[in-house]
Amino acid sequence: MPFDLETAAHPERLRRVAIDPVSRVEGHGKVTLLLDEAGRVQQARLHIVEFRGFEQFIVGRPYWEVPVMVQRLCGICPVSHHLAASKALDAVVGVTGRGGAHPLPASATAMRRLMHYGQVMQSHALHFFHLASPDLLFGFDSEPQRRHIVGVAEAHPEIARQGVLLRQYGQEVIRATAGKRIHGTGSVPGGVNRLLSDDDHALLKGQAAERIAWAEGAVALAARLHESEPALYRHFGEVPAMMLSLVRPGDGAMELYDGVLRVRHADGSLLLDGHSDQRYLDLIEEEVRPWSYMKFPYLRALGPERGWYRVGPLARVQNCSHIPTPRAEAARQAFVAAAGGAVAHGALSTHWARMIELLYAMEVIAELLDEPALRAGELTASAPRQGGPGGDSEGEREGIASIEAPCGTLIHHYRVGRDELVTHCNLIVSTTHNNQAMNEAVRAVARHYFDGRALTEGLLNRIEVAIRAYDPCLSCATHALGRMPLDVQLSAADGRPLDRLLRDGDGRCTR
């Protein structure tokens, strides 16, 4: 059996418990547990239940539509898809990335980077303040009626206000660079279609210092929560995993817009560095399992059992050599020191790492706002076309790109025919990279909290807390935010109902 608790030997004798759907995540997912007679967990799975098929219906569309279409994969991180597609399609219009004969103009690079760091900031603020903070501030067993942002607004008005305004700032950066807060059009294959206006520049610059201070406050809050219950924060949903992320070529600094792939072992030692995203297929293979629409990627060289890894804030903060902005670097060092030199693998540590990245993104935005290229310069590169009508070669053109989306590494891969229509599209989204790691975290929590104990709402919420820590964003693979009713049914093998736990509209549990 490849993964502990993934598949039970005799499922027909076990009773089934479902958390359906997993809630306060923006995804359609559900968890099923199979318990034996002694109430021990024999199987635990996170199922992704929605299928949309973007990779296939994009085939046949003109390539220039793609950066706008793929944003509809996810309204939480549309910019990540917008930019990953643009970067991949740069190659299709003959523009080269770093170095190369026909690089992107400095203005386009600056605008895209600004847009991306705005995206990371708004998503991290949403994730921490709107989705996760109620669990952390009120506790996993607190009344569900209170576990929401409205409850936070009542109990901690200043935290809620700063959370809303931090997110707003990120969204305003996106509006100023993409034209619209959600599903904008700022980036095109080969460049961008606008520069930053003077008014927007003044607005963003005027608020930057205060937002940096609030971001520092958010890091301090995450650190404080961690210190208030170190054992819980360290070990809850703890699964040792390899770490994969992009880092800046050369010095391995944190870099979210463009970089090279680096992988560390769970103990922190380096496994691989400087791997080009152009060769992602040499590195990663994906497995399909019958019980989830989300694929399971792993490092090809190590195989599915040993080759799975974690992406996202927790991986990035520990995979990079340093963070190239001063405040976030100081915060990273405090994070490392708190772990006493060991690598942190607990699910809740992700929230602290996420706030360090929020601060980093805010510092990068403030630096970028001083770039003159944002307000003057070329929008798009002119490059000789490769292939295509009037091009100089026959056949298909190919484009591959990666970016660090808020939830982790995102890879887009396209082929475009001579008629300018897409002939192939392959996407590995952040949540998919984390599929095995999330399943392992669910298993760790299930085994620790469920074995032989009575079911309570608080126990069930713990499984969801672990999933939320990774990613409220099952949405790239699928979606739905907000709590849905929880109807947990236990039935005997012959279908006889044994127990049933209902969370009603007020969040009360009944049997």
């Binding site: 479902a18 306060r24 923006e26 359609h28 099923t32 799975r45 199922h47 239940v49 929605e50 299928f51 949309r52 098929g53 219906f57 509809r72 994969l73 996810c74 309204g75 939480i76 549309p78 709107h130 109620p134 569900p144 009626q145 576990r147 929401h148 942002i149 409850g151 607004a153 809620a160 206000r161 809303v164 997110r167 707003q168 619209k180 959600i182 599903h183 297929l281 293979e285 994906e286 497995e287 399909v288 019958p290 019980w291 989830s292 629409y293 694929k295 891969h413 192939h424 392959n426 949405s475 979606h479 739905a480 907000g482 709590r483 849905m484 929880l486 969370r503 009603d504 509209g505 969040g507």
Partner: protein, 187 residues
């Protein structure tokens, strides 16, 4: 005998759901930013991103994002309709299927095989997921009005935060919502 003080005006109850959408409509709703705090003075959230309520209770307004792509979406939508006095189709996906409906000219079985069996980098022997835990995908993505009655639609992909605000302000004041020039758009 002193008269009891008049009861505080009852807050409107609002629920929201995402079916086969991208969550962008919910995000755009959150883009009302600080007006959120003013809104929660007058509106009580039932099941929504802002509360932890799990089931739709009896609601005045239900906002639905996303179309119908599988059997579970249909079930959730019917339940929503049954609980909400006023049901609003929010965004292109709920109104006409939106981008996910681009799959409608393809056969679902071929689509599934293409994604799970014919992509680069798949391990050998990959099969289309078919576990009974997975809800059955529908052959086509449907707009929600094909399955339930809707009272209003709020167009856009997504509708802007100002459009949400105008719409809710009108409803709270008991007026028929009117999206003026600039708030009505389809992108």
């Amino acid at each position: 005998m002193n008269a009891a003080p008049p009861p505080a005006p009852r807050k409107l109850r609002l629920a929201t759901v995402s079916l086969a959408g991208c969550f962008g409509c919910h995000m755009s709703f959150l883009d009302i930013d600080e007006r959120l705090f003013a809104l929660i003075e007058r509106v009580e959230f039932d099941r929504s991103p802002l509360t932890d309520l799990k089931a739709v209770g009896r609601c005045d307004i239900g906002l639905v994002e996303g179309g119908l792509c599988n059997a579970e979406n249909v079930q959730v939508l019917r339940e929503f309709r049954a609980h909400c006095k006023t049901l609003v189709a929010v965004g292109a996906c709920a109104i006409n299927g939106g981008l996910p409906a681009q799959r409608n000219h393809l056969r679902i079985d071929e689509l599934l095989r293409a994604v799970y069996q014919q992509r680069d980098g798949l391990a050998a022997g990959a099969q289309v997921p078919d576990d009974p835990e997975l809800p059955l995908p529908l052959n086509r993505v449907h707009p929600i009005h094909e399955v339930v009655h809707i009272d209003y639609s709020l167009p856009g992909c997504p509708p802007s935060a100002d459009a949400f605000w105008q719409f809710l302000t009108d409803l709270m004041a008991g007026r028929t919502p009117q999206l003026g020039h600039g708030l009505m758009h389809y992108d």
